[in-house]
Symmetry: C2
Subunit: 373 residues, 2 copies
DNA sequence: GACTTTCATGCAACCGGTTGCATGTCAAGT
DNA sequence: ACTTGACATGCAACCGGTTGCATGAAAGTC
């Protein structure tokens, strides 16, 4: 843990390194800052927060510890006067039940874990946020884990979390079905965008929205469309490609696939030549970032959008911030996060696993990158 | 917790509601799924994972519990043979030390909290990710909290976290100095982008980068520049405006401020008329999203960038995805997250508060939205 | 061979709550 | 007045580890 020292740009305060103040550490009654305020703000010792315990409250209120416990957890078991007396004593002392101790004796610690492949991917933050809010509503806290798209890291995180969460949400897990099943045998699990029988899961069906996209383009008179595909091992990519092919063949529209091999924006941009070479007049991209790349590439080549070419993204992570504003397929990642947590908490409460397959439909959001040809 | 039911789009599995399998819950030796596999995947009971305890290992290895404990925490105290025997027994039984119990007796649970105002703001995900990675390196887990820019929510979260984390990182806190000081008295705290004496803090000095932006524009021949300002109560906004004014006056460049009152993209777009009305030939925007809005607004008005007008963003959250690619000021939010956690863990280990003011300099990243006039 | 010293291990208290059961009190029932 | 039950509260065990101290055996010293 010396990275601080070697990456400092500027230490405004020259005072570094622990300086032990006069008082002994053990004596302190409370977490606090001590040390003489001689110069600026000297380094100071941390005194551990010796929290008020249930026994102290019990003594103060003249009752047994169990009564204090009950006053907080099941006040209906006690006479109103007793509860009040205890509460008054607790308040006076600043008592807060110790979460860890409670967790140990009850076996419930009120935490759930959420593991995502890449926090920085704009798809996830709304999901995380919604999950957090949902958990909060039930007084649960969220452990967040980031796997950097690495299955090994994911496995490791699951293991580390397992001991301190009651359940886990795995979003767009990169683990094999077997590993996921194994973990599901250890603790309650809910999946997002992984479809494994017997494990509760929330699926965002981008197929529906993508089909609408094709219909929309067909209606505008486009007869040949390109699908700019995403990562080949992605569940969503598979789903989208299938849906597009089906819709196109239904509508008698020609479809061609151009791969955007690498990560999103740049590969979209690089794919533009290939896209134009097909002679298509419109494209649907794997996701919004790819679409944004395509948009930039088209602008470079002076192809006007939507005048000369129509473009549709997917996941709607950009809002309407591109120019022209990108037509896209809604992503519902927020709902996915919320529902997954809600499902998980539900499982925890009922102590039952339900084989749930919760599907969220998506739809087309028409903006300004599509027009009649 | 009934939101699931009322927002269902589609329940693929019709079997809903807990069905209790034959076996009694208490009997189960392990967390598992039971119930007859009659039809699809019927609902199944969760059996609590009755973990292997230290006593079982002790019995199996023929030693006292304390020896098992030591085998895991201070193996040097035991003879190598004993350690091996214990480890073998532990492995055979699949023993994993109970995190909660350990936390209770040691007072250390190996968690830190991270609270941000808005996960969905692209500024934060890299910060969160870096914090998470840094914590992971020391086997710490991260609690993530989202305040939705609401000080009350922030207060509440701090309180909830306080019981289960050893320390807390507050990023871009919206709390008053007093509240922050109060919390800092309760548990180790590190701030990001809040400058409060006596509390360890990591500050991203966007002033330096913004000054470079002004110099860059001046060098390109721009004599009048607009600053498109952000939220008036933002520490960063204040810092940036001040830096721009100073740099401009140094260089003899005229500066004018146009407020972008509301949230970023749209307000940037709406500010375009006012910006052009000033007669300036270049602008620096509070952040990249605002700049993106301005970019879109300029495109609408057929003002070519950078031909007719130069534009610089701030925070560099867009990468190079706009067209033309946006010149911006680096943000270093990743470093901020990493350093803040590192600082916090350092404090926890040394049990000392250091009055650290860690400043991260920023710099200009020149791309394609700036040109000579 | 008696006397330290060293070292591995066990004992038992402790962390701070929760909870099943026993006890005591008081009012209702007959 | 005596039984019965309901109810409020206390006792003590328990959750699953950690840790200061005691103990006893082996090794070292003279």
């Amino acid at each position: 843990m010396q990275p601080v020292a070697c990456q400092v740009d500027e230490w405004q305060s020259g005072i570094v390194g622990a300086r032990i103040a006069g008082a002994s550490i053990d004596e302190a009654a409370d977490f606090m800052v001590s040390g003489t305020k001689n110069r600026e703000f000297p380094d100071t010792m941390i005194k551990r927060a010796k929290g008020v315990t249930i026994s102290q409250v019990a003594d103060a209120a003249g009752v047994a510890r169990s009564s204090v416990s009950r006053a907080f957890t099941r006040p209906d078991m006690l006479s109103p006067e007793t509860v009040e007396r205890i509460m008054k004593a607790a308040e006076a002392l600043g008592y807060v039940p110790n979460h860890t101790a409670r967790a140990l004796s009850t076996g419930r610690h009120g935490n759930v874990g959420l593991i995502v492949p890449d926090i920085a991917n704009p798809f996830f933050p709304p999901l995380i946020q919604a999950a957090q809010i949902e958990a909060d509503r039930s007084d649960f806290c969220i452990f967040l884990g980031n796997t950097e798209e690495n299955p090994k890291q994911e496995d490791k995180l699951v293991g580390r979390f397992a001991g301190q969460v009651e359940g886990l949400v795995l979003a767009s897990s990169r683990l094999s079905d077997e590993r996921i099943r194994a973990h599901a045998g250890q603790l309650p699990l809910v999946l997002i965008n992984r479809d494994i029988d017997g494990i509760p899961r929330v699926l965002i069906d981008s197929g529906s929205g993508v089909s609408q996209a094709v219909e929309h383009l067909a209606k505008l008179g486009h007869r040949k469309i390109v699908y700019v595909s995403g990562p080949s091992n992605s569940w969503s990519n598979k789903q989208r490609r299938t849906a597009i092919r089906a819709a196109a063949s239904n509508l008698g529209v020609a479809i061609e696939t151009v791969p955007a091999v690498l990560a999103s924006y740049n590969s979209g941009r690089n794919a533009v030549s290939a896209i134009l070479a097909t002679g298509a007049t419109a494209a649907v991209a794997f996701d919004d970032l790819t679409a944004q790349g395509v948009l930039a590439g088209l602008a470079e080549k002076k192809v006007s959008v939507p005048g000369d070419f129509s473009l549709i993204g997917c996941d709607d992570v950009l809002g309407a911030v591109t120019y022209p504003a990108l037509t896209s397929v809604s992503n519902r990642s927020m709902e996915a996060g919320r529902v997954a947590v809600s499902l998980l908490l539900d499982m925890l409460q009922s102590r039952a696993i339900r084989d749930v397959r919760y599907v969220l439909e998506t739809h087309l959001v028409v903006r300004n990158t599509t027009a009649a040809r």
